[in-house]
């Protein structure tokens, strides 16, 4: 299986879906002649032309909403947001229109559209450019929200998202784009709504998604050296949550730690805890722990930035806490 960077896997998914379906077009800032701010759309303008790879003005609300309109009448837009921080400007169109068209029209309209771009900290970018905003979107009925961690999932889930009949919000990551992994060639489609056990274990379930996945794997490796067997469950889709997979894993290990880059209050992890406590309370051997970004704005200074985010040592500490092996 070829090894690809995350950005190359996304590029493949886009090219394959655009070849498969002429209704698919990509619009966003710098996606065309510049070949993408993060090079996800490298080479696509030459391949598909300027009506299908569209350099948009810096008008997130405008081109976001325009794309929703195109989706209402049968096209399948992929909207690249340079980062999800900027997409806050487009939130009215995503939330008030895309997410509600099916409902407001009583089932007459559908809105097959993908909004995608990097979320989370990019590294030394301070507070306006470092937010993990997936919980905001996961809040809204009418949207699907995905956050793949690996290149293979990035490719397979983007393909599924483009083929989906609903608005899909896709969180990528500035620090994921250059990561490499094995990616199946050709028709590799990963269904939305399905979590994936990326590492099997028996002592504790660590639940995560997107870039935090790599810290969890790192922590699992370290803990294995101490004889602790960690199961890593990659949620991949944040709306709808894969309850079945969450409960199956927790019922097996009886302990859970949830790792989230974003803030704790009203985070995705809070909803995962709620699922576990209401449906698997009797099977828990310890309270569920959460490792999250600190409840502060992100700083530029390297030491402050690092301290704000979850990392492997914090995850290791949380795992030991649910195993009652603190200080061990």
């Amino acid at each position: 299986m070829p090894e690809l960077m995350y950005r190359e896997a996304l590029n493949q998914a886009l090219a394959e879906e655009m070849e498969r379906d002429a209704n698919v077009f990509l619009i966003g800032e710098e996606v065309g002649r510049y070949n993408g701010a993060f090079k996800v759309s490298q080479g696509l303008l030459d391949k598909f032309g300027s009506a299908r790879i569209i350099d948009a003005p810096i008008s997130e609300l405008g081109f976001g909403g325009m794309s929703v309109g195109a989706a209402m009448v049968g096209l399948r837009p992929v909207v690249e947001m340079m980062t999800w921080n900027f997409a806050i400007l487009a939130m009215d169109q995503i939330v008030n229109n895309a997410a509600k068209l099916r409902h407001m029209s009583g089932g007459q309209l559908r809105c097959p559209i993908v909004f995608r771009g990097p979320g989370g900290a990019g590294g030394r970018l301070s507070s306006q450019h470092s937010q993990s905003l997936e919980a905001n979107y996961a809040h809204f009925p009418g949207l699907k929200v995905i956050a793949p961690a690996t290149p293979a999932d990035a490719k397979g889930m983007l393909k599924s998202a483009i083929r989906d009949e609903n608005p899909v919000i896709m969180f990528e990551g500035e620090r994921l784009y250059a990561l490499k992994g094995e990616v199946p060639e050709g028709e590799h489609v990963v269904p939305l709504g399905k979590a994936d056990v990326k590492r099997e274990g028996t002592d504790v379930t660590v639940i995560t998604w997107s870039r935090m996945y790599y810290f969890c794997m790192q922590a699992a490796e370290e803990l294995a050296k101490e004889g602790i067997s960690v199961e890593v469950l990659d949620l991949r889709t944040l709306r709808p949550l894969d309850e079945e997979a969450i409960l199956a894993s927790v019922r097996k290990t009886n302990r859970a730690v949830i790792v989230e880059e974003g803030w704790a209050l009203a985070g995705i992890g809070a909803s995962v805890v709620d699922i576990i406590q209401s449906k698997a309370f009797d099977e828990l051997d310890a309270p569920v722990e959460r490792v999250t970004g600190l409840d502060v704005n992100m700083s530029y200074a390297a030491n402050l930035e690092n301290a704000t985010q979850p990392d492997a040592p914090k995850i290791i500490a949380a795992v030991k806490k649910v195993l009652y092996r603190q200080g061990a």
Binding site: D21, S50, G65, S105, G107, Q108
Partner: protein, 379 residues
């Protein structure tokens, strides 16, 4: 009666059709207002009374397959496009037989069969959507035009400026009709706008813009006929500012105390409905008997609409779990088929992704390179 000096360019049929549609909107809205006070309709209910010409003129000038969408003062356009009055009223009543199964209410009328793509409740939120629909027409090389209504207050939303820029740059076939009724809810537009003549804003985007007498259905008809031809010829978007007036408050909840009685009385003299009737009679294109017959028929139609809505059941509770997410293989709902059991043939269909050939070159390479060069880039 003396024959007019210059013959009217309009047919009797067209004038009577326009009269019927304007009168239908007037009568429907009067009854909706009355039903609101009886408690049959709740929430927000924005009446179109006074603005009928702004909907009817353009609709008669458009093609049936042209797209249309509006803001939340949205009962008039679908009625004029041919929607079932009973099903519109049922939507206002929150009944399962409404166009959106009672899920949308007064602000969200959608009738895709008649190419009416909705009423939207966030001021200016429909403006980018319209550009996107026009984009899709251009992308598929169709010569459809999209007509989008918005109120005067929406002209101060960022969405409008962002969209006008793109629509003009990409020459999208979209006609924006600003329904300038002079008040954004209770605030006079001149109090909040540096340039209260909305049409002038088109100039900032090198886009065609002009004012129209929105109290004259024939002027609205001519303006949109001309604008539609312009759009179909690939010349880009048009902004029309229809200067109009609502005879009632912003919504049923608004007593409109910010306007003087005198002002409203004065504006009522410009009522577009008797104006058309006088024009037709003067030109020998209709007699009192024609108009009386139309009025009787419309009254009966609206009575039946109210009765239909009132006798309809509320939506079933199962409906709560439908229409949030489209399930795989789930078809779209055709309202008249669902409610009235009639076969709805007129439903938009487009070439599949395998059949479609995109030939549009939105930004030719040479043009992009010339712009780069002009900006001082050398590579």
């Amino acid at each position: 009666m003396e024959a007019p000096a210059v013959a009217s360019p309009y047919s009797k049929d067209l004038l009577l059709t326009m009269y019927r549609k304007m009168y239908l909107i007037r009568r429907f809205e009067e009854r909706a207002g009355q039903q609101y006070t009886l408690g049959k309709i709740a929430g927000f209910c924005h009446l179109y009374i006074g603005q009928e010409a702004v909907a009817v003129g353009p609709i008669e000038a458009m093609r049936k397959d042209d797209y249309m969408l509006s803001a939340y003062r949205d009962h008039g356009q679908p009625l004029a496009r041919g929607s079932d009055a009973g099903m519109v009223m049922a939507e206002l009543f929150g009944r399962g037989t409404g166009y959106s199964k009672g899920k949308g209410g007064s602000m969200h009328i959608f009738d895709i069969e008649h190419q009416f793509y909705g009423g939207y409740g966030i001021v200016g939120g429909q403006i980018p959507l319209a550009a996107g629909m026009a984009f899709a027409s251009r992308y598929r090389n169709e010569d459809r035009v999209t007509v989008c209504y918005f109120g005067d207050a929406a002209a101060n939303q960022g969405a409008l400026h962002e969209t006008f820029n793109m629509a003009s740059k990409w020459k999208l076939p979209v006609i924006y009709i600003c329904e300038n009724n002079r008040y954004g809810m209770g605030t006079a537009i001149s109090r909040t706008s540096a340039v209260p003549e909305i049409y002038k804003r088109a100039a900032a985007y090198d886009m065609r813009g002009e004012p129209v007498d929105g109290m004259d259905v024939l002027k609205m008809y001519e303006a949109v006929k001309d604008a539609a031809a312009w759009c179909r010829a690939g010349k880009g978007p048009v902004l029309l500012e229809a200067n109009t007036y609502r005879f009632r408050g912003h919504s049923m909840a608004d007593p409109a105390t910010y306007r003087s009685k005198q002002e409203v009385e004065e504006e009522r003299k410009g009522d577009p409905i008797p104006k058309l009737r006088e024009y037709a009679i003067k030109n020998g294109l209709g007699a009192d008997a024609d108009f009386e017959r139309i009025e009787e028929e419309v009254k009966a139609q609206v009575d039946a609409a109210v009765k239909f809505a009132d006798e309809s059941p509320e939506p079933s509770l199962d409906e709560l779990w439908r229409d949030t997410i489209v399930e795989p293989g789930e078809p779209d709902v055709r309202p008249r088929e669902r409610v009235l059991g009639v076969k709805v043939e007129n439903w938009p269909s487009y070439p599949s992704g395998q059949e479609l050939k995109v030939t549009w070159d939105l930004e030719p390479r040479a043009q992009a390179e010339a712009a780069d060069k002009k900006a001082g880039l050398t590579n």
